[in-house]
Assembly symmetry: C3
């Protein structure tokens, strides 16, 4: 069988296999609009952005939302909570909205971490929609320092000035530099948390582990302080975390998009 | 290479690939009996039905089961809780059993939802066995309005007359029409819950979200009221939910079996 | 197209497919050292063993570790908690360390069970490292009676003399024979727990189900007593459990390594 023939066969086969594998891969998320009023868009991590102009009065009560927020913006995802909360943090800075609630399911489609459900409250629907749009747009950036392979993931986040989403979710002091260090499996998280605080003079906001999260397999460190120090601590954790994850998984642990820190 | 040859190669290759993929697909669940007294049968969702004629006295205490129930029927599944609770609801109507407990693990084999462990209590083993048999039989129907794709799932349930399983699990008023609306990721659940209560005059029994479930990535609405109104609300949620799930997953979200509502 | 040709094509195709499938399979875990001080080794179950010689003083406080343990040994895994706790039990017997904490995330990479995060405390780093090394080495054995297929898993553990890890995690009486019986989905766990206590005269230490674990889909029985009786009960549960799991999954449920009980 000549090489040309073999190549042709392989091409055909791979095309067919590609078709079946496509289903398992995350579908490319162009923000296609299905023509539904509530739909705003989609993004990486099986993220969907939605808006409700006037939440039903009764449901409003059961959801325990402050009555003044007639309109809500919604960010929900299967994979990721950190990237979404950081994105929402930019959204509340940029719009006339408040964070109503942040919930953290145990998800990531079989991975070790969280999904999320974030609600923005607004008096006007255009503000709620804008907050969702800003969040969706930020996600490509905030997924930049999420590194993963078959064994787990590490996630780093950094902001020079934390706002109300970081405060609501993690108790970050508003207006100060803030960093997030996640390692999964949790054992890696413990070691990179230790490396982070040893590498720079930062304040620990809090430490979380499986028994204090949604039973995710993550250890998480939240730090605050001088912006240079926070960044340095996050970078130290990242460098060690990637190496440990690669040692465990015995394969590279690349960024989900493009690193930003 | 002529087309005939290519076709033959593809056929062979696909057959081989089919073999390897088969493992990942759910095995066909004919109710094959392994010759174990406790075994009743299996069903969709990696569901197993079991019965214990006389629960060991000591274990009975540790399981905190009312001593009068010597016999227990057991329904357990990796995927699905709603379909199983609806099925159990029919089973308690049809047999001389009571629901002892309903527990909701965080499962679905990497999906966004629950598995379940349902125990029926009976004074006589034949009643316990019968309850399990009825439940297993109902599951094909109650999985009918579970729609899923790579991005998540939505689930709808409706009964004209709720019984003790719906009451135990969800506080449904016994004897009244009852509906269940689930969306995963939870963001979709919020929007279809709102659409449901706006579409018909129904009573909200309760609303659940990741922080009040087993950290599943679902928002869930439980409704009660006039049977026509409950059905109408459920159908409105279903129509919107399927479209949103398809917009997020960019592929169809078909029924697991055959819709029944 | 002659058979020879077909075979050659299939070989090529399978090779290519093998490449892509390899990613999903667990990478072979030779204890390759990435040259990081904290790294001790890896093992089955996406397990990583790590050590911190001097935990940062501030982090120490946030982790609520007794100040006398300057050094900590860390065992973390995506899949398995029972095998790791049993391994840690041997490690505390063999070294001058104590168990600081055992946390049980909801993990197993889409499976029905737990992952783990186990911390050993030591005054000297060589003790902490030794405890991690012993644990990693024990894992091949303690995974021996973990049986799994597409439908779930069962896990059995047995020790003639429980030590402090079994005590910390499960309340096992120190110095007595101890057994662990896990079935997933939980329905199988209930039935094999009942079979175990009926087969021999053992004491129930406790019983756990989804609502009292990290929402895993497992029912778990912990037993203690005469070593012959505990072993007999565990073996009875194992024999029934494997048959039920195979009936549900309609495929064999082999041991993860080599049975030891």
């Amino acid at each position: 069988m000549d090489d040309n023939l073999m190549e042709k066969v392989m091409e055909e086969v791979m095309k067919k296999m590609g078709d079946t594998k496509e289903v398992k891969k995350e579908a490319p998320k162009s923000s296609y609009n299905p023509g539904i009023t509530e739909f705003v868009g989609t993004a990486i991590g099986d993220t969907i952005g939605l808006v409700i102009a006037n939440v039903d009065h009764n449901l409003h009560g059961f959801m325990k939302i402050d009555p003044k927020y007639k309109s809500i913006g919604i960010i929900g995802a299967r994979t990721g909570a950190g990237p979404h909360i950081m994105a929402a943090d930019e959204a509340v800075k940029a719009t006339n909205t408040e964070i109503i609630s942040i919930e953290l399911p145990r998800d990531t489609k079989g991975g070790a971490g969280h999904g999320c459900l974030i609600l923005f409250g607004a008096e006007d629907v255009s503000d709620a929609r804008r907050a969702v749009e800003v969040s969706l747009k930020e996600l490509d950036r905030t997924f930049g320092d999420v590194y993963g392979n078959n064994a787990g993931h590490i996630e780093l986040q950094y902001t020079a000035r934390a706002s109300y989403a970081c405060n609501k979710a993690w108790g970050a002091p508003v207006g100060k530099a803030f960093g997030l260090i996640v390692g999964a499996p949790a054992a890696i998280g413990v070691v990179i948390a230790d490396a982070a605080v040893k590498s720079a003079n930062v304040d620990i906001v809090t430490y979380a582990s499986p028994s204090t999260t949604s039973y995710t397999n993550e250890a998480i460190l939240f730090i605050s302080g001088d912006s240079g120090a926070v960044r340095q601590a996050v970078v130290a954790a990242r460098d060690l975390g990637i190496r440990l994850l690669e040692a465990l998984g015995q394969e590279p642990a690349p960024s989900s998009t493009t690193p930003y820190i």
